[in-house]
Amino acid sequence: MRHIDEYRDGTLARAIAAKIAGEAMPDRHYQFMEFCGGHTHAISRYGIEDLLPPNVQMVHGPGCPVCVLPIGRIDDAISLAMRPGVTLCTYADLMRVPASGGASLLKAKAAGADIRMVYSTLDVIRIAEAEPCREVVFFAIGFETTTPSTALAIRLAHRKSLTNFTVFCNHVLTPPAIRAILDTPDTAEGARVRVDGFVGPAHVSTVIGTKPYESVSAEFRKPVVVAGFEPLDVVQAILMLVRQVNDGRFEVENQYIRAVTAEGNLIAQREIAEVFELRAAFEWRGLGELPASALQIRDAYADLDAERRFALETVSAADNPACECGDILRGLKKPAECKLFGTVCSPESPMGSCMVSPEGACAAHWTYGRFRDIARAASTQAAE
């Protein structure tokens, strides 16, 4: 595949990895967080950890939109879908996310709810037009990547005066989440996460550009390198982070120059601004309530807002108390350090947010990397 294979070249990867090993100072430990689930997936899928020296480690961040969606909002979506006359349209990866009491959209569908998996917001418009007697609700989730297409659908429905189409908006913002991770007060054990820098979002940055990270980077004195989702992108970004740390710099750099500019996609930003405004606060699964971290539909489009049409009042629901997702999302713990990991919590029956999507830290580690835990346990045992 042209424009894909070039970014998966193993020989080039090993050359960059050799530079990382050569330039990383042996007496220093480097810990970087990849914010996005797309990066987590690439790191696990291509075995990038195996290419890094032992003193350069990656921790997985909260940038998986499915993972951070709180249980209460999924409960809302299920209760919407169970109403007679409602058709709920959703991206497929939300189907299995566990809600309260062991429910999920997949189970609701089996119980008779009209839930349809779509690939595009325009599919939802088509369904609403074809079935005027159904109340068609789009379960909108995602970071800035998917927000423009939701905005587009809302504008289109508005122009077409569609009366049976609404959006249940759960769009969240990236920079406030990065800030929340860095701003976390020390835990009881006094273990504030030590992140030396971030591999910054790929697709999100195509929309918002690199500028929005600058204030966070400057305030917390942490380097950010925006990188693509291909494995070579990630390896190169890690090298760039190592160099910044070595030089004592904390800049926002752009590795993903083939898609990302400093300003981002101004047309997409305009669409978003036209339709959405900041929410005062929004709950993130694993991170808790974060101020100004999500979007809601503006009054001008209130008739297309499912929360208003159906008078939804989200009730917050807690995760399993033994679940360590909060600490894992902040980079304080590794998936294998959670007692639930691989025992009662697995991709087949996820308990916590990090296990629900293939991009979640726990699911990625379970699916691609858990053989390393066995090797690690064996070598620890041998050492003892």
């Binding site: 595949m1 696990s44 899928r45 075995g47 998917t146 066995i374």
Partner: protein, 349 residues
């Protein structure tokens, strides 16, 4: 009083539809069976018209396998539910190293299903069976009310005969054995997905749906007792098949990503949809586990057969109490190749 002996009017295959009377067991059922199925399958055992087929069996070990086909869409590039129902069951029989002898076919048809489509499916089954040299010798037809099926479901059962002395089974895999794959993966799944209404992307790709028993016969002749296991990686793809074999054998696998053949179109479609070719279904491929000393010979024999000319040595069986299927990625790292939790769902970002 001639009309008492009048035969019913012929089925209007071009415009007609299956209705509940076609499943009621009366004259309409008999007519449907005769004009569509008997005409298509036409063989002496079936033509006797009994509720079962009676035949002599040779001495030796027999195998039997059954499979239900519920594919959507019913017609896809490179095949349809009919050819698939023949190939799939023949392959399940052949994976025991057996020569398939006979097939039985059972249909559950939804009221309102076009007769023209039913005939097209029956004809496709007939030609697939004829090409494979295996007759459909008995069958059954049922009709369910509209909304209680999805067009047509087909279930086929096959029996076959295993050559003397041959016993293929997953528990015979042992560390050091080699793993050979008979060709590119993901062709069937991607060809089918390209025709689903909500995806609809353009591709020239055809399903790999094919009967593998002749390839298997060559392999058995060449490698004989060095052959330990055969498995066709259908639903769940190569990943699911290897994990099943790992669980059954109590061993692990180590495979090499760069050795696994994947067509450019399949790789591109999977990229677009967020799928992994390792999890995508195949209907004309097999995995062979063979003793290391016979691997090269088996590979060369397989490559000489049209259904195996892209065969590749993709890895080996390992000692692993965890039964992990591990893979060296083409990027140079290592990872697990796991089962899917449920259906493979596209990612959104």
């Amino acid at each position: 009083m001639n009309e008492l002996r009048l035969r019913p009017r012929k089925l209007d295959i071009r415009n007609g539809r299956v209705d509940l009377s076609h499943g009621a067991g009366g004259r309409a059922t008999a007519q449907l069976v005769e004009e569509i199925f008997l005409r298509a399958f036409d063989n002496p055992l079936l033509n006797r018209g009994n509720d079962q087929a009676a035949f002599d069996v040779p001495a030796g070990r027999m195998v039997m396998s059954t499979d239900g086909y519920v594919i959507s869409p019913l017609f896809f590039p490179g095949g349809d539910i009919g050819s698939l129902a023949v190939h799939g069951t023949i392959n399940d029989v052949a994976m025991a190293g057996a020569r398939p002898l006979h097939l039985a076919a059972s249909y559950i048809i939804e009221e309102g299903f076009p007769l023209a489509d039913l005939q097209r499916i029956a004809n496709s089954m007939a030609s697939a069976a004829r090409e494979a040299g295996v007759a459909i010798v008995t069958g059954d037809t049922k009709v369910v009310e509209r909304g209680k099926g999805d067009g047509v479901f087909i279930s086929t059962t096959g029996i076959g005969l295993v050559p003397a002395g041959l016993d293929l089974s997953a528990e015979f895999a042992r560390p050091g054995d080699r793993v050979i794959l008979s060709g590119s993966i993901g062709d069937h799944g991607v060809a089918v997905m390209s025709k689903r209404s909500n995806l609809g992307f353009e591709t020239e790709l055809l399903s790999d749906s094919a009967a593998l028993h002749e390839l298997v016969a060559e392999m058995v002749r060449a490698a004989g007792p060095s052959l330990r296991v055969l498995r066709d990686p259908t639903r769940g793809g190569l990943a699911a098949a290897l994990n099943e074999l790992a669980q059954q054998s109590g061993c692990g696998f180590l495979i090499d990503e760069s050795a696994i053949p994947v067509r450019g179109e399949v790789a591109a479609a999977c990229e677009l949809l967020g799928l992994d070719p390792l999890n995508v279904a195949n209907e004309g491929k097999l995995i062979a586990i063979v003793a290391p000393e016979a691997a090269e010979l088996l590979l060369s024999i397989m490559r000489r057969h049209p259904l195996g000319h892209e065969s590749a040595l993709i890895g080996q069986v390992t000692h692993d109490p965890q039964c992990f299927v591990q893979m060296t990625t083409s990027f140079g790292g290592g990872r697990i190749v796991d089962w899917l939790g449920g259906e493979q769902l596209p990612r959104i970002c």
